[in-house]
């Protein structure tokens, strides 16, 4: 044991933080599972568990783009949307072929991730040449486009397979798919996915968060992560040491998109009906707020703020109409408190022992 402790002490600070992050997530999962099995959680809390896991994964993956790569993305929910609807289609199509729900969920999440990665590649390849706020606006536009496209999508499944129709004119309905007697609708245009068999659960959420953490943290601590952060810190110097900017930017962006896709698939399979409006600009912003409040590049910060800010509006239910107003005020106040020199000095006086907690992680 003593040997282990010395070994732990000799580890790098980042490695220690990573271990603590994994352990924290595992501990919370165990506690919540015990509480759940003991029937100590009310229905509202239970309903929040899967979304919290999804948002944690979303926040960590967006942190890869915004914190580690240093590119502002305002369309992260777009990738979630791609993952959600492709995941729902896959899961609903495999109802009879793969009756085992966990296996089907895993397939759906992998497919969701792959589709989101493909879309990420298509968006990222041309767009990552743009800089700063222009990238932000293009990702924003992309998110809106995805939402609109899914609104035009009609998908059904019957004995002869998958039927997909793109309803551009807005005049077609699910009947135009020509499903036979065994057929059922999966996505009904603007109504979104309906009648989805919900197969998402806390364990899947936990696995999603762990996989996301392993991928993002290990990527960050490998040669690719160093290169990505080097590009963030100084693109010109990064090129001067031979780094291929496009390759590494795309690597971070596509990985981030794929993880959002997996999170989206889990999210989509948690609800029997789902509209594409759910993944609009506001959701992208919501996730961005998690990342910024948790700290850029700070992975456990993202986890924490995603969980806290998903619970906060629910906890504020008693304030009913005022809750979003309170949320807005909290948001502004936190930003001022963490970024304004006078505020910071004021808090430093209150907490004299705390040393430079705002130091950037990674």
């Amino acid at each position: 044991m003593a040997k282990l402790t010395t070994k732990f002490k000799s580890l790098k600070k980042t490695t220690k933080v990573d271990f603590a992050t994994y352990l924290g997530v595992i501990a919370v999962f165990i506690v919540v599972t015990v509480l759940q099995n003991g029937g100590m959680l009310n229905r509202k809390t239970l309903g929040l568990l899967v979304p919290i896991c999804c948002y944690m994964s979303m926040a960590v993956s967006l942190n890869l783009t915004v914190g580690i790569l240093g590119e502002l993305s305002l369309g992260h929910a777009g990738f979630m949307s791609v993952g959600a609807f492709s995941g729902v289609i896959v899961s609903q199509s495999l109802l009879t072929a793969v009756p085992n729900a966990p296996v089907r969920l895993a397939i759906a999440m992998v497919v969701g991730a792959i589709f989101a990665a493909i879309v990420g590649l298509l968006v990222g390849t041309p767009v990552l040449r743009l800089q700063g706020d222009y990238l932000a606006i293009v990702t924003l536009a992309f998110g809106e486009i995805i939402a609109d496209l899914i609104n035009c999508l009609l998908v059904g499944y019957d004995a002869s397979g998958l039927h997909i129709l793109f309803n551009v004119s807005g005049t077609k309905t699910i009947d135009d798919l020509g499903l036979d007697a065994t057929g059922y609708a999966i996505i009904k245009g603007a109504q979104g996915a309906t009648g989805t068999k919900t197969i998402a659960g806390l364990t899947a959420g936990f696995i999603l968060v762990m996989v996301t953490l392993i991928i993002v943290l290990n990527l960050t601590r490998s040669r690719a992560g160093r290169a990505i952060m080097a590009i963030r810190d100084n693109p010109i110097a990064a090129q001067s040491v031979g780094l291929n900017l496009t390759k590494y930017k795309l690597m971070a962006f596509v990985t981030s998109a794929a993880l959002a896709g997996a999170a989206g698939a889990l999210y989509g399979l948690n609800y029997s009906s789902l509209q594409s409006v759910k993944f609009n600009f506001n959701t992208s912003i919501l996730v961005l707020v998690f990342v910024v409040l948790g700290g850029l590049g700070n992975i456990w910060g993202s986890l924490l703020s995603a969980a806290a800010l998903t619970i906060l509006p629910e906890a504020l239910r008693q304030f009913a109409d005022y809750r979003m107003l309170v949320y807005a005020i909290v948001l502004i106040f936190v930003m001022l408190a963490t970024n304004n020199p006078q505020f910071k000095a004021f808090f430093a006086k209150l907490l004299p022992r705390r040393h430079s907690a705002e130091e950037k992680e990674v």
Partner: protein, 280 residues
């Protein structure tokens, strides 16, 4: 202001190579290199040859176009005309990253470190092109990940030992004092295994004793790694002491070229630096 410059022949000149390099092909040849910014010839008819293990200097007043030449050599700017031969190979069409992989590494006048990475990571990042494990191996931490990471760690420590900076390996690069940041930039450039090292004002902001040490370091780097060095510097003491060949630039053109002795006694160079004597 009269702009009197000697015309430099556009042919390849007999090199000013140090004797030990004379029988080897030069590492770098620039032939009639030039760039125009909206009608202004920032660099014009730039011809230079650098020997395999030469330490060469590029001097000239502020705004003469010295850094522009570094930017041309590394393709931060695209030359309007002229040819650059690196190890006899035309590097036309390569981008900045490819130029580095072809063998030119540089430092920057205004320091450009990876501020939020550690000192060690700044160096290991520069070794990225020499590493082979892929993204999946990195995420899954397969054996090749550990093997290569160990190798680059050891090499980084070796490089840091040149400037006795091992103890700062885990410090954030941005937190280093100015002089140490300059030295780290040199190490980062070295980490890419170049055959030609471009140093843009390496001694800027250093005191005389630091400069003297740096001089020794540059020489020993050249001897250890058997590479050529081209440096821009305003510290004449440093330039005259360690450079074997010097080119003087004024208004984008070479006004003199030669050994330190030649340069020190060249009237045109003196004029460029001190201004023309008023004729009575």
């Amino acid at each position: 202001m009269t702009q009197k410059t000697k015309l430099v022949p556009v042919t390849r000149e007999p090199a000013l190579l140090p004797e030990r390099d004379a029988d080897k092909s030069p590492v770098l040849e620039c032939i009639d290199l030039g760039i125009t910014f909206g009608g202004l010839k920032a660099v014009d008819s730039f011809n230079i040859t650098i020997g395999r293990t030469e330490i060469a200097g590029l001097i000239g007043p502020n705004g003469a176009g010295k850094t522009t030449i570094f930017n041309l050599l590394t393709k931060v700017y695209q030359p309007t005309h002229g040819t650059i031969l690196l190890n006899g190979r035309d590097i036309h069409g390569l981008n900045t990253a490819q130029i580095n992989r072809a063998g030119i590494a540089r430092t920057f006048q205004n320091i450009r470190l990876f501020q939020n990475l550690s000192v060690e990571e700044n160096i290991t990042t520069a070794m990225d092109t020499q590493m082979h494990y892929n993204m999946a191996e990195g995420i899954l931490r397969l054996p090749r990940f550990w093997r290569e990471e160990r190798v680059v760690h050891e090499r980084a420590m070796e490089l840091l030992s040149i400037f006795h900076m091992e103890e700062f390996a885990d410090a954030k690069a941005g937190s280093l004092p100015y002089g140490a940041q300059r030295r780290l930039e040199i190490l980062r450039a070295l980490a890419t295994n170049p055959c030609l090292l471009l140093l843009d004002e390496p001694a800027a902001g250093m005191n005389p004793s630091e400069t003297a040490e740096l001089m020794e370091n540059i020489r020993s780097i050249r001897d250890t790694f058997k590479i050529a060095v081209l440096l821009i510097e305003h510290d004449m003491n440093l330039v005259m002491n360690i450079c074997e060949g010097i080119a003087v630039l004024n208004f984008g053109r070479i006004i003199a070229k030669g050994s330190p002795d030649d340069i020190q006694n060249n009237p045109e160079v003196i004029e460029a630096y001190l201004g023309k004597k008023k004729e009575a």
